[in-house]
């Protein structure tokens, strides 16, 4: 009984630590090649993995909308990509998100959420609160993962519909999943 409980607790801890690794593996399997990003603490493990990869190119941006245009160009040239950003960057993308409808290209973005679940910084709250609605108004389908164990399933669904059906999709990685940022003096 004890052994089983320990084993499942261990398993849960493993999943909790490895969800960025799960995302990386799924992106690799879908042959994602260009990974534009504006850094976020919640994406740091995945960004490191991408920068160390031989098949993917991590592309640091100055602002998130650059990534939307980059992915349209990548698709025109025959490559798939994924945009990594934080919820505050979604607002920077709005006009450029038109490209997902006008080109009907396979757009996938992974967004680490701020401004929810115990947020300390009030400046993150307005954009975090409107992130999902902004995407939906722009015609992007939104999926969310709040617990480590659902990340692989949500990612698999998102990548499938984005790359197989050219359905522009955003995955919101909730603050509950990535952990509330701790501010200390």
């Amino acid at each position: 009984m004890h052994a089983r409980a320990d084993a499942s607790a261990e398993q849960a801890a493993e999943i909790a630590a490895s969800w960025p690794e799960e995302i990386f593996a799924i992106l690799q399997r879908f042959d994602v090649r260009q990974v534009p990003y504006v850094p976020d603490a919640g994406h740091s493990q995945l960004i490191e993995r991408v920068l160390g990869s031989s098949s993917m190119r991590g592309i640091a941006l100055t602002t998130e909308e650059e990534g939307v245009a980059l992915l349209a160009g990548a698709w025109a040239g025959g490559q798939r990509g994924v945009l990594l950003m934080q919820s505050s960057g979604v607002g920077n993308c709005i006009n450029m998100l038109s490209l997902t409808q006008i080109f009907r290209f396979p757009f996938l973005t992974l967004v680490t959420m701020r401004g929810e679940w115990g947020e300390f910084n009030p400046w993150q709250v307005p954009m975090g609160s409107s992130t999902q609605a902004v995407f939906e108004l722009a015609g992007i389908k939104v999926l969310r993962a709040s617990h480590p164990e659902e990340v692989p399933e949500v990612m698999e669904a998102a990548a499938s519909q984005a790359y197989n059906a050219c359905t522009p999709t955003a995955v919101l990685l909730s603050q509950r999943l990535i952990g509330t940022k701790v501010f200390v003096k």
């Binding site: 100055t62 602002t63 650059e66 245009a69 980059l70 698709w75 490559q79 006009n95 490209l99």
Partner: protein, 196 residues
């Protein structure tokens, strides 16, 4: 403010694309897209009618995906100013096959000719250079444009940036196709990619 040595935009773009072979051309929204259309329709023209500020980034995505093909972004000063950060991103990635040409009329010609920042102190060549694009130049003669056009085929020596001061006259619009799914799928088809 009238200046000497202003080149004709259509002559500049015709010269850039005259011997293009497999070159992919991305046109910034407005007059740059009309100039590319005027030079002749081509499966490898990516005409933009919106997404202001995104032309260089689309060129970068294409250039990274197709490193053996020359990719040239032809855009205006207003469009370039809106996407100035993308020059920093290009400077970091340094794709050898990407070239950027700004047709600089120092104004927003599509919307009534309001002056742009390049009519003032802003120097796009200096910005490109400071972003790490080593080959950044201002071109004032057709001979320089022709030499630049010939250099595009070398896909190892970029990224390149060139600013050309052009005559601000509004020319007759030569409207390109504007159905974006057609344009992008035609381009993909020319590269050997099938529809999904």
């Amino acid at each position: 403010m009238s200046k000497a040595n202003l080149l004709d935009r259509r002559a500049v773009v015709s010269s850039l694309l005259a011997n293009r072979k497999g070159t992919i051309a991305v046109g910034g929204l407005g007059a740059s897209t009309y100039d590319i259309a005027a030079a002749g329709d081509n499966d490898r023209n990516l005409y933009l009618w919106g997404a202001m500020g995104g032309a260089v980034m689309m060129g970068l995505g294409l250039a990274l995906a197709q490193p053996k093909l020359p990719v040239v972004v032809i855009t205006g000063d207003g469009e370039m100013l809106m996407g100035m950060g993308s020059l920093a991103t290009v400077g970091l990635q340094k794709p050898g096959n990407l070239s950027i040409i700004v047709l600089d009329n120092e104004c927003y010609g599509e919307t009534g000719g309001q002056l742009s920042h390049t009519a003032g102190p802003v120097d796009l060549v200096g910005i490109a250079s400071a972003c790490g694009i080593a080959d950044a130049r201002a071109m004032t003669t057709m001979a320089e444009v022709e030499a630049f056009a010939a250099s595009l085929a070398d896909v190892t020596a970029g990224p390149r940036f060139a600013n050309v001061k052009i005559d601000g006259a509004n020319l007759e619009r030569v409207l390109s196709n504007r159905d974006a799914t057609f344009i992008i799928n035609r381009l993909r088809g020319s590269l050997g990619f099938k529809p999904i």
